[in-house]
């Protein structure tokens, strides 16, 4: 199929693989591609994820073979071999991953063969073919994870009955991945479980090696990381469950209960944790009940995001804020099966509050489809069926907010009008933060 892509909310496979690697310190990418790929990818990731910026060895420091016409014509394997050798001696890292771009995949460089030589010599190096044309960030995330699980993660390790791996939140694509992972880990720790998050600034490469000790993988997505989780199961025998990213008390309660059941954790302990977290959450939310009601902070909601956030944010605003969801636009590239999977999550939302779901990758299409639908909507609200409204989307969706006279908060990729550090929107802490951020926007003009 060939369509144009307009203001995309993801990168190519190479980009996805690259951000995954560079999110983990001392995990070094070696990009086998033309000169611009690495920096372009990094630029998109770092500005679009709240100015994530430099980590251990990325950005302008990314090792890259910078293949030019010569390599395209005569092959790039020699260049790659040279690049790997030098990278190993110059960069101090624990694990190296060769990832490829479009050109090198097309010209058919046997990168695996090149890397295998180094592997035989005992170097900690893996390879993944991540040519951009193969798919978007999500595919890149799957590719690199597969490579890690099959080439680096140790086989045959004894399973730890209390160890869990978390997947599904793509670094940078989920702009709040660090805060989210930290909160999810905290909650699972409270249940007595150990957790590998892999991609927060305090994680280490060693965890990837021993990841096979986990007795369960949790994938917080119906779409991202599923293929990788399946490979993990085949290779290391660890089963996985998929859970929608939990935002706020209701969704998080369901998540904790599911995990509690899977690990046969005594239900009293699970309920105690839930009570404790609820009490904490509501100790703050009950005070803002004043302003919520007196200024009437209820809104009709328009959500624009990927498969993870489109549902999770809708559920949050409907259940925790008492808002009325009007439209949801899912911006991932999905096949029909995947679309059905995403759609079926919305069955959890009461029928009279279910939003209209649009699958659309192009920003301006989203705007025109929403506006056209509004024009044709016959409702008791007359000409302004969704007033007052609020848009939760990416910075690109600010224009939609202006068109429907709505408030706006950037949550989904790309986010360029905020700086993101440890903020997260998952769990109880995340739910409170999201409530605070949204209401602060609504009062921001005072």
């Amino acid at each position: 199929m060939s369509e144009y892509i307009e203001r995309p909310r993801y990168q190519c496979a190479l980009g996805g693989a690259l951000v995954t690697i560079t999110a983990l310190d001392r995990f070094i990418p070696i990009v086998h591609s033309a000169p611009g790929c690495a920096s372009s990818a990094e630029g998109a990731a770092s500005t679009g994820s709240g100015y994530w910026g430099s980590t251990y060895c990325n950005g302008r420091a990314t090792p890259s073979s910078n293949t030019l016409e010569k390599e395209i014509i005569f092959g790039g394997e020699e260049r790659l071999k040279e690049q790997i050798e030098t990278t190993l001696s110059i960069i101090d890292g624990d694990l190296f991953a060769v990832i490829t771009g479009c050109m090198t995949d097309i010209i058919g460089d046997d990168v695996r063969a090149v890397v295998n030589d180094f592997k035989k010599a005992g170097k900690p190096i893996i390879v993944a073919e991540t040519g951009g044309f193969k798919g978007n960030s999500s595919k890149g995330y799957d590719f690199i994870l597969e490579a890690i699980f099959t080439q680096y993660t140790e086989k045959g390790l004894e399973k730890n009955p209390r160890l869990v791996n978390i997947f599904g939140l793509i670094p940078s694509q989920d702009v709040f991945w660090r805060g989210n992972l930290i909160e999810l880990k905290r909650l699972l720790n409270e249940l007595g479980l150990q957790v590998n998050t892999f991609f927060t600034p305090s994680d280490i490469v060693e965890d990837l090696k021993t990841a096979s000790k986990a007795s369960l993988n949790i994938v917080f997505s119906d779409i991202h990381g599923i293929v990788a989780a399946k490979v993990f199961e085949e290779t290391h025998g660890t089963p996985f469950i998929t859970v929608p990213l939990p935002i706020g008390p209701t969704a998080t309660k369901e998540f904790l209960e599911e995990v509690g059941e899977k690990f046969e954790i005594c239900s009293k302990k699970v309920q105690e944790l839930i009570q404790k977290e609820n009490a904490w959450y509501y100790s703050f939310v009950q005070s803002i009940g004043d302003i919520y009601n007196d200024i009437d902070l209820q809104r009709h909601a328009i959500i624009v995001g990927d498969s993870n956030y489109s549902f999770s944010l809708t559920r949050f605003v409907e259940e925790e804020l008492g808002w009325i969801p009007a439209y949801v636009a899912v911006t991932d590239m999905l096949d029909n099966n995947e679309k059905e999977k995403v759609k079926s999550r919305f069955d959890l939302i009461p029928e009279d509050l279910r939003p209209k779901i649009i699958f659309e990758t192009n920003t301006s299409e989203i705007v025109s489809r929403v506006l056209a639908d509004l024009k044709n909507t016959d409702s008791v609200y007359g000409d302004l069926p969704i007033t007052p409204a609020f848009v939760l989307g990416s910075t690109l969706d600010r224009t939609l907010a202006v068109d429907v006279n709505a408030g706006f908060l950037s949550v989904t990729f790309p986010v360029t009008n905020r700086v993101v550090t440890d903020q997260g929107y998952a769990g109880y802490k995340g739910g409170l933060r999201l409530t605070t951020d949204i209401f602060s926007v609504l009062l921001g003009n005072r």
Binding site: G289, N293, D294, D296, E319, L353, Y381
Partner: protein, 488 residues
């Protein structure tokens, strides 16, 4: 007549209008007792914080844009100053006009309380004039100044010749009245006695007493159809503009309780007719009020044409939303006029009102008549709903909500509706007094109610996870059980 402009202090509502702050019964009983003159106040053996008339009076006066309000009180009473000034600065900015009013306190301390502070007060008034050059100065009294017997009136008399702008004492000691709405009367009294001047000519302006003029543009347009202009007060007015109120064609008010003293006062003293019909909330309210105005300004036919045109536009839309609101039950907790008039609007929308909690109740207005909205309800209400006069008492409201479990609770004072939602009842804060104004307001109101009840999960979740302060014992009692027997 109840208005006496010769006294420096306004008479309290309980004395002037037979107003009460405690009652429990129903609509018909309330109306009958009022007509027979047997309605008596009931005190409570348990009360929670309410409001005082000083907050009311001084808040009203501080909404004028070019005055000084001096609160002869300790610093706590002046604590309301920042909120008041911020609100009115924003209101003025909305219209692009200057707001230079200052809200000062005299910061009375223990010394002042023991030895008195009238000399310092005198100096402060002079300094205030020199520093801020306001166009009028109002000196508000307080509990402390009242109890120690500060003779503010004499100070004002002494300074009248020295200070070139109007200066008036506003007697609004917090303990003065059981009904804080007496504060509205105190501010009106100050304006009528010191600001309004005898008319030099007649103009085509209608005085419009309200709170925050949110429907200003809309009403200017409506009135233009009949060749008249509205003058909204007191917010965003100047002293100069207020001096001319005696020259207006008529006075109207958005609320009967708010407008009674000024409206009747202007009529008695200067012959400016006061429109005393029900207020323009909802369809019947709006039409009745407009027709009354039509009589006064002699434009009956134009008004009828206008009404016909607007009905054609709005009534079908309102009917459309009404369908979605069928079967809803409501409880209201508001001031003496709004509680009953919003009830009328809710009944127009087909919503059942099960309990009306009025913060106080005026047996009559300053024209000597029972408030017209009561008569209207007696004749037209589909049910004899329960009524209590509740003076904002939170414990009574939560008890009522717990027993009657309405679909929605309506309030108008900040910090009241939050308690309803904490107990799991959806609530709508009717802060904007024009929310139900006319056809447009009725439609808007209906749509907002629909939004409010459409998704009640916020209040449901909140109520399930927080604790309420009342004992189980209290919820088992009747909400009126702590009202004492009637006083004489």
């Amino acid at each position: 007549m109840t208005i006496n402009l010769n006294n420096s202090s306004v008479e309290t509502r309980e004395n002037r209008l037979g107003s009460i702050a405690g009652y429990n019964g129903d609509l018909h009983d309330l109306a009958n007792q009022t007509k027979c003159g047997t309605l008596k106040d009931r005190e409570r053996c348990f009360t929670q914080s309410s409001s005082c008339d000083a907050g009311c009076a001084l808040g009203q006066l501080a909404s004028i844009t070019d005055v000084a309000v001096i609160n002869h009180a300790p610093s706590g009473c002046t604590g309301m100053a920042s909120q008041t000034i911020v609100n009115h600065t924003q209101l003025a900015a909305k219209r692009g006009i200057p707001y230079t009013t200052v809200f000062l306190g005299t910061d009375m301390n223990e010394q002042d309380t023991v030895f008195g502070a009238t000399e310092s007060l005198k100096e402060i008034i002079i300094k205030t004039y020199q520093r801020y050059k306001p166009n009028a100065i109002f000196i508000g009294t307080s509990c402390v100044s009242g109890i120690i017997g500060e003779d503010v009136d004499s100070i004002v008399d002494e300074l009248k010749d020295e200070i070139p702008v109007p200066i008036a004492a506003v007697h609004c000691e917090g303990f003065k009245s059981k009904v804080w709405a007496t504060g509205f009367d105190a501010s009106d009294h100050a304006i009528l006695t010191s600001i309004v001047k005898p008319p030099k000519k007649k103009n085509n302006i209608i005085n419009f007493k309200n709170f925050n003029e949110s429907a200003r543009k809309e009403i200017i347009k409506i009135f233009a159809n009949f060749g008249v202009k509205p003058f909204f007060l007191y917010a965003n007015t100047t002293v100069e503009e207020l001096t001319h109120m005696s020259e207006s064609l008529a006075t109207v008010s958005i609320c009967g309780t708010l407008g009674t003293y000024l409206g009747n006062g202007l009529e008695e003293k200067y012959g400016v007719p006061y429109v005393k019909s029900i207020n323009p909330l909802g369809i019947v309210g709006f039409e009745t009020w407009l027709r009354e105005i039509g009589k006064v300004i002699n434009k009956q036919e134009d008004i009828e044409n206008y009404i016909e045109k607007e009905r054609a536009i709005y009534l079908p839309k309102i009917e459309g939303v009404k369908k979605e609101l069928k079967g809803l039950r409501a409880v209201l907790g508001m001031g003496a006029s709004y509680a009953f008039q919003v009830t009328r609007v809710l009944q127009e929308l087909g919503i059942e009102v099960v309990w009306v909690a009025s913060w106080h109740f005026d047996s009559k207005y300053d024209n000597g008549e029972i408030p017209p909205h009561i008569d209207y309800l007696v004749e037209n209400s589909p049910n004899n709903f329960k009524v209590s006069v509740t003076d904002q008492q939170n414990f009574e409201i939560l008890n009522i909500l717990n027993k009657y479990k309405p679909d929605i609770y309506f309030g108008r004072h900040p910090g009241t509706t939050v308690w309803a939602i904490k107990q799991g009842t959806a609530a709508l804060f009717l802060g904007d007094e024009f929310k139900t104004f006319g056809y447009r307001g009725t439609l808007d109101f209906a749509q907002t109610i629909l939004d409010t009840i459409k998704n009640r999960s916020f209040e449901k979740n909140l109520a399930a996870r927080i604790t309420l302060p009342y004992t189980e014992w209290w919820y088992k009692q009747d909400s009126s059980s702590l009202l004492k027997e009637e006083v004489e």
